[in-house]
Subunit: 431 residues, 2 copies
């Protein structure tokens, strides 16, 4: 440090003393001078709310500990950092902080996905900031770029790998041919997956993040309940291998996009061409691929989870919020001025890959093709494989309304020449 920066002292209250909280406390202390130079204020840790004050926590000052989270959040700190997780108590904590006039930084995706609109309104009412960069894609700067750098542009589509657990599992299934259960067990042993992996593998974690990103990208209130969710539990090694044979990788994508009449937000396993930038995002990494009218395609890549990366995103928000308090302003926030209708999955525009077990006789391809045509679904390519009892048709469609694609599949299941719809997955990024 060439000079010792002056400036006001801002009190920071930390609610949650777990992995991320400890890292935030450590970095606040170790980088105090540098943070002061960057924010224009000295950031002073005013208190840390923990679940059990008796548990030793390396690096957390004992005299600052309390178990009363709501009291700490109401104590008039300049910035309340909420890292406790969960929704109900966290909601109470954040509401208390905003009502007291504290700005809030949180990493809580479930809270924002469920109560974002209400909390933003409360922040506006009290003239304070509500920031949550760490809630989506961990350390990757994403929400600030969406709301600032791309603020002059019109975003049309966001495709995100926003769950590290499922990306780790799908990467290993694809590269090693390992089975889902086996890789999940490894992921749990390595700490990449929770003991109860439902929220990750079921797609719900990604759905909360998709709701947050969609809200910021399209200036519309979106909650997790608006998001169509399919997880990866039914993906087999064969599905992944079949995708690989066709030059695709399987990713769990969070997708928010403009569709005719509104926007559509969805999470599901997706085939992505191997040449697409998202295809090379491996293991527990996250990436978000944004298409905007003027900017074209931009992608943000990095670590989506972990104590230190998440702490980096939290501290970035703390510095931003501190700058605002020093200047006496608030930053741009979620604006829902566009009020675009959030439409169901049937209105999404996507492409399908379909693997059909069919009768091996003349005319079958014509009959199958006519079913697609009846629903205005255009076929991008067909491959016939095997013969006799193993006759297979692999069909890849062009982009079409998801409802039309689903109606086609329903008709295929009824068709006398189709013995089974053996594989079915949506395809993105191919055209």
């Amino acid at each position: 440090m060439a000079q010792q920066p002056q400036g006001p002292v801002l009190k920071v209250a930390l609610v949650g003393g777990g992995t991320v909280g400890s890292q935030v406390a450590r970095l606040l202390r170790e980088n105090a001078d540098e943070l002061a130079a960057r924010s224009g204020a000295r950031l002073e840790l005013a208190g840390v709310a923990v679940r059990d004050a008796g548990k030793t926590r390396v690096g957390l000052p004992l005299d600052l500990l309390t178990t009363d989270a709501v009291a700490l959040a109401s104590s008039g700190a300049d910035i309340v950092v909420e890292l406790m997780g969960g929704v109900e108590v966290a909601h109470e904590v954040v509401v208390a902080a905003l009502r007291t006039g504290s700005s809030v930084v949180t990493a809580n995706k479930a809270l924002i996905a469920q109560h974002g609109a209400e909390l933003h309104a409360l922040a506006r009412e009290h003239g304070v900031d509500l920031y949550y960069e760490a809630a989506v894609a961990g350390a990757i700067p994403l929400l600030q770029p969406l709301t600032s750098s791309l603020a002059g542009d019109r975003i049309t589509r966001v495709l995100g790998i926003v769950n590290g657990t499922t990306n780790y599992i799908l990467t290993r299934m694809g590269e090693e041919g390992a089975a889902f259960d086996e890789v999940l067990a490894d992921a749990q042993a390595l700490g990449y997956a929770e003991a109860d992996p439902t929220a990750d593998v079921g797609g719900h974690d990604a759905a909360a993040k998709a709701a947050i990103v969609a809200g910021l990208a399209f200036h519309t209130a979106v909650t997790a309940a608006d998001v169509h969710v399919e997880g990866i539990t039914s993906i087999s090694v064969d599905d992944v291998a079949a995708a690989g044979d066709m030059g695709f990788v399987v990713k769990l994508l969070a997708i928010a996009e403009e569709v005719p009449g509104g926007i559509c937000v969805r999470v599901h396993p997706t085939m992505v061409p191997r040449t697409h930038p998202l295809a090379s995002v491996r293991e527990a990494f996250n990436a978000v691929f944004v298409t905007a009218e003027a900017a074209g395609e931009v992608m943000f890549y990095g670590r989506g989870a972990g104590g230190t990366p998440t702490a980096s995103a939290v501290l970035g928000d703390v510095v931003t919020v501190a700058r605002h308090r020093v200047s006496g302003v608030v930053g741009p926030t979620l604006s829902t001025h566009a009020e675009r209708p959030v439409l169901p999955i049937g209105e999404a525009i996507t492409a399908y890959y379909v693997n059909l077990h069919v009768d091996d006789r003349p005319g079958v391809l014509a009959m199958v093709a006519s079913l697609f045509a009846e629903h205005s679904v255009s076929i991008a390519g067909v491959r016939q494989e095997g013969s006799g009892d193993e006759a297979t048709l692999i069909v890849r469609t062009h982009r079409a309304r998801d409802a039309d694609l689903q109606a086609t599949i329903a008709d295929l299941r009824e068709s006398p020449v189709v013995r089974a719809v053996a594989g079915l997955m949506r395809v993105e990024g191919a055209d």
Copy 2:
């Protein structure tokens, strides 16, 4: 639009009516309501300075045209957007704007790399903003994430592909085995390279961008003159093919990093492992790979040039600056509080790949290895190829001080067993 936003009117003066300027004017007009909702102000085009008012410009309102750039910049607009390029007149324009109390948005990398510190000081003095997201990596949000999202972290290293022309050339040399001159001619025909390609292929364009990024990442004044520059003109197809054989691609990297005692900023052709995220950045795309203490590795990817992508970045800045003017504040700016020494290339920590033509007799490897050891350079791997007159040693080193590596190479050139140093390139991202 669900509601017609109100708010003050901010006057925007546009200096430069070329490709980017026309796009900015178009988007200001077409997205007026949306930009008003996002910025909190109606953005009104107050004038456009062009070189030749007689030339027809699609989309530029004729009554707003002027050829007097400095007069327009001094006319008291809220925001002056400088897109004329060049350094001298642009400098005069930006100084005039800042002195008049206008905030400035520019895409001019050469101007900022050369006069950034002075212009930032002037902006601070007059209490206005100076933003230039478009100056580095076009549409990719990079400078705002560096100064905001990563503001709570400590950046240790930035590796960037920031010149689309050279990346296009190197991609085609690598993938098609095409010669430099041939690909350059194609790039010129496609509009990816200028008629005079010196600034691009010589590395000077990348050096200006490296200086800007280094300044923001390390809170230190850095100019283009501080940057060590090597271009790609001496890279042969054989070099690229040899790199490919070893699992590497060749990229022109802009590198800014912490080194013992300061920072080092350099631009040179670099071998990058094929598994590194930068390796898959092809053709005219740009990407910037940032390592930060807490965040780990994050990467930003997108289009680095072109009228519309650049206009997107300019408008993002315009919206940010407009928000600040509505609130009566200025944003965070280049802070040079860290004042870190900018050290010469000799202090960089890097690795080398060296291709040596050697005598084919016992003891040669031992003699070559001892030369590396004398300079404390550790060898990562050695491969012997050919025999007799074609005996070759391919050596890859671990990371070491560049000066020590250069001294090793000088000794190798003098060594009686080394007939020629036939290939030599720095390696990054391999350990």
